[in-house]
Amino acid sequence: MIGESMYQELILEHYKHPQGRGLREPYDTEVHHVNPTCGDEITLRVKVGDAGRIEDVSYDGQGCSISQAAASVLHELTAGSTVEETLSVVDEFTRLMQGRGQVEADEDVLGDAVAFAGVAKFPARVKCALLSWMAYKDAVVRSAAR
C-alpha cells in the first residue's frame, strides 16, 4: 500500500505512451548510460540549436516504468527550452530524488516530473528515475565541450 503512490497515474501514462521515443537525426552528441543494478539502459541524443536552445532530445532504451516514464517526461520538459533552463530542472529533479523522501518538490520548476516524488523513498529505484536525466546532463555537457 505504502509505496503504491509511487506508481502515479501520470507515470503509468507516460510509460504506456512514451513521448518522443526513438533515435533521430540530426544530433550533436549521443550517450549511452547503464544502470548496473538492474540492467536498464538508455541511448540518448541531443541536438542543440542557436542560442543554446534544445532542438531535440531523442532516446531509446529498455527499463522499468520509472526509467521509461522519466525519459518521456524529460523529453517533454526540455522541448523548446535552453540548455541552461533544462539544467536547472535537472538539478532540482536530482535534489528531489536524492532527498530520501525528505525534500519538498518545487512543482513550478519540475512540472510533471513532480510525479516522481514517491520514488525518492526507494533508494534502489532512484537510479531508475535518474538514468535518462543523468544521460541528458552528460550529453549537453559534452555538446558544450565540443
Binding site: M1, I2, G3, E4, M6, Y7, L12, T37, C38, G39, D40, E41, Q62, G63, C64, S65, I66, S67, Q68, F122, R125, C128
Partner: protein, 418 residues
C-alpha cells in the same frame, strides 16, 4: 497444503523477522533467500553472547577470553567440516564471503612466486567457466586472464537452462574449470561428475561454486570429488561477513598464499617469510571471528533440522510453485520447468512488464520480497535475450501459502499494467 517433510510453522518461529509486520500493515513474505537468507534466533543469540561476554582475538591471545574465542572459532571450523563432509578440518578456510573464496583460487594461478605446474598460467593456457555463472565466478577469471594473457572460455547454456558440455571447450590447455553447482537464476543443478570427468581427462583442476547448493542440499566433499568448493555463510542462515573455501589439503599446500599478514605466517624476517600450514596460511589478519562462530551455530541449526528434510521441503515447494506459475498468463520461466536436477529458485519474465515493476509492486502492495534484475548473472540474461528477470527463491521457512501469495501478487501486477 502444508509440507509433509518439515514442521514449517515451528521453524518460522525461529526466525523473528518472519513475524514482522512491514509498514502499512503488510506481512512479510520473504522469497529472496537465494540472495541472502534470514537468521534464526540461535545464530543471532550465539553471536550476541559471544560478542558481549567471551570476545577477544583468536590464536594469538593466551588468556581466558583468548582461549574461549579460539575454542569457539576453531570449533566452528570443526562444525563446518563435518557439515560438508570434509576429509580434514584443515581443509576448511574461512573467508569473508564466497567471492573472496573464488578470488583466492583465481589469484593462486599465474603467480610468478609459485612454480607448481598446476598453478602456472600464461598465454595459451585456458580457463573454463560457464555462461550461467554468477559475476563472482566470472570477473575473477576475466581479471586473471587479463593479468596473465591466458584465454577465458566457457560452456554455453541450453534453451532449457542446462549446462551445455559441448566438446572442445575443455582441452589439453585447460588449467581450471570453475562452474556453479547450482545456478542462482535457473535453479539448475549441474552434473558435477561429468564436469569433473572432463577436467580430469584434460588434467585441469575443478572449482565448484556451491553458494547455492550447500545451503539447500546435503553436500559431501568426498562425493563431489572437486578440487575446490566455495560457499557463503549468509545464504545458509548464517551471518554476513563469512564465507568458506574448501580445498584438497595437498592443493592448499601447493598454492601460494593470497593475503599476507598476521596469523598466516610461521616466521617473518624483513626480507622473507615462511608460512603457517593451511588453513591459517589463507587467513591473514584477525579473521571474522564472531561471524565464523555464527556460521557454526547456523550449521548446528541446519543439522538439527536435517539437510535431507530441507531439500525435500524445498522440492515440494518447487513442485507446487512450478504448477502454480504455469497458470499465470504471459509468464515465461527461465530455467528447467521440471523438478529434475533443479533447486528452489524460479526466475521468470512477465510479458510486457519490467521485473523492476513486478518486484516493486509485489513489495509495495503485499510485502512480498523477490529479487528483480540480472541477479549478478548478466551474461546469462544476455544469453536469453532479456535484461532482467523476477526471481523467487525458497528456503526451509517458506510455505505453499507464500507461493499462493506470490501468484495472487502477479495477477495484481498484471492488472496494474494492463
Amino acid at each position: 497444503m502444508t509440507s509433509t517433510s518439515l514442521d514449517v510453522e515451528r521453524i518460522r518461529k525461529d526466525f523473528p523477522v518472519l513475524s514482522r509486520e512491514l509498514p502499512g500493515g503488510r506481512p512479510l513474505v520473504y522469497l529472496d533467500s537465494g540472495n541472502s537468507s534470514q537468521k534464526p534466533t540461535s545464530v543471532v543469540e550465539t553471536m550476541r553472547e559471544h560478542l558481549a561476554m567471551h570476545y577477544s582475538n583468536v590464536g594469538r591471545a593466551m588468556h581466558v577470553l583468548g582461549s574461549e574465542s579460539t575454542e569457539a572459532y576453531e570449533s566452528a571450523r570443526d562444525k563446518v567440516a563435518a557439515f560438508i563432509g570434509a576429509p580434514s578440518r584443515d581443509e576448511v578456510v574461512f573467508t569473508k564471503n564466497a567471492s573472496e573464496a573464488l578470488n583466492l583460487v583465481a589469484y593462486s594461478f599465474g603467480n610468478p612466486a609459485c612454480a607448481d605446474p598446476r598453478f602456472t598460467l600464461g598465454p595459451g593456457d585456458e580457463i573454463v567457466i560457464s555462461e550461467m555463472e554468477h559475476h563472482s565466478n566470472i570477473v575473477p577469471w576475466q581479471m586473471l586472464a587479463q593479468r596473465t594473457g591466458a584465454t577465458l572460455k566457457w560452456f554455453g547454456v541450453t534453451d532449457e537452462g542446462r549446462l551445455d558440455l559441448a566438446d572442445g571447450v575443455v582441452t589439453e590447455r585447460t588449467k581450471i574449470v570453475s562452474v556453479a553447482h547450482q545456478s542462482n537464476v535457473l535453479g539448475t543443478v549441474n552434473p558435477v561428475a561429468d564436469v569433473v570427468a572432463l577436467a580430469r581427462r584434460a588434467g585441469a583442476l575443478v572449482l565448484l561454486d556451491a553458494s547455492q547448493s550447500v545451503p539447500h542440499h546435503p553436500v559431501d566433499m568426498a562425493a563431489l570429488d572437486a578440487d575446490f568448493v566455495a560457499f557463503t555463510g549468509h545464504k545458509m542462515v548464517g551471518p554476513s561477513g563469512i564465507g568458506v573455501l574448501w580445498a584438497r589439503g595437498e592443493l592448499l599446500e601447493a598454492m601460494p598464499p593470497f593475503l599476507g599478514g598476521g596469523e598466516m605466517i610461521e616466521a617473518v624476517w624483513m626480507d622473507r617469510s615462511t608460512y603457517a600450514p593451511a588453513p591459517h596460511k589463507f587467513e591473514a589478519g584477525t579473521p571474522p571471528i564472531v561471524e565464523a562462530i555464527g556460521l557454526g551455530a547456523a550449521v548446528d541449526y541446519l543439522t538439527g533440522i536435517g539437510m535431507a528434510a530441507v531439500e525435500a521441503h524445498e522440492r515440494e515447494l518447487t513442485a507446487y510453485a512450478l504448477d502454480a506459475l504455469r497458470e499465470v498468463p504471459g509468464l515465461r520461466l527461465i530455467g528447467p520447468d521440471s523438478l529434475d536436477l533443479r533447486g528452489g529458485t524460479l526466475a521468470f519474465t512477465l510479458e510486457g512488464i519490467h521485473p523492476h515493476d513486478v518486484g516493486q509492486i509485489l513489495d509495495d502492495r503485499f510485502g512480498i520480497a523477490v529479487r528483480v534484475g540480472h541477479h549478478c548473472a548478466r551474461p546469462l540474461h544476455l544469453r536469453f535475450g532479456i535484461p532482467a528477470t523476477t526471481r523467487a527463491s525458497f528456503y526451509l521457512y517458506n510455505t505453499t501459502g507464500e507461493v499462493d501469495a506470490l501468484v495472487r501478487g502477479l495477477h495484481h501486477v498484471q492488472k496494474v499494467f494492463a
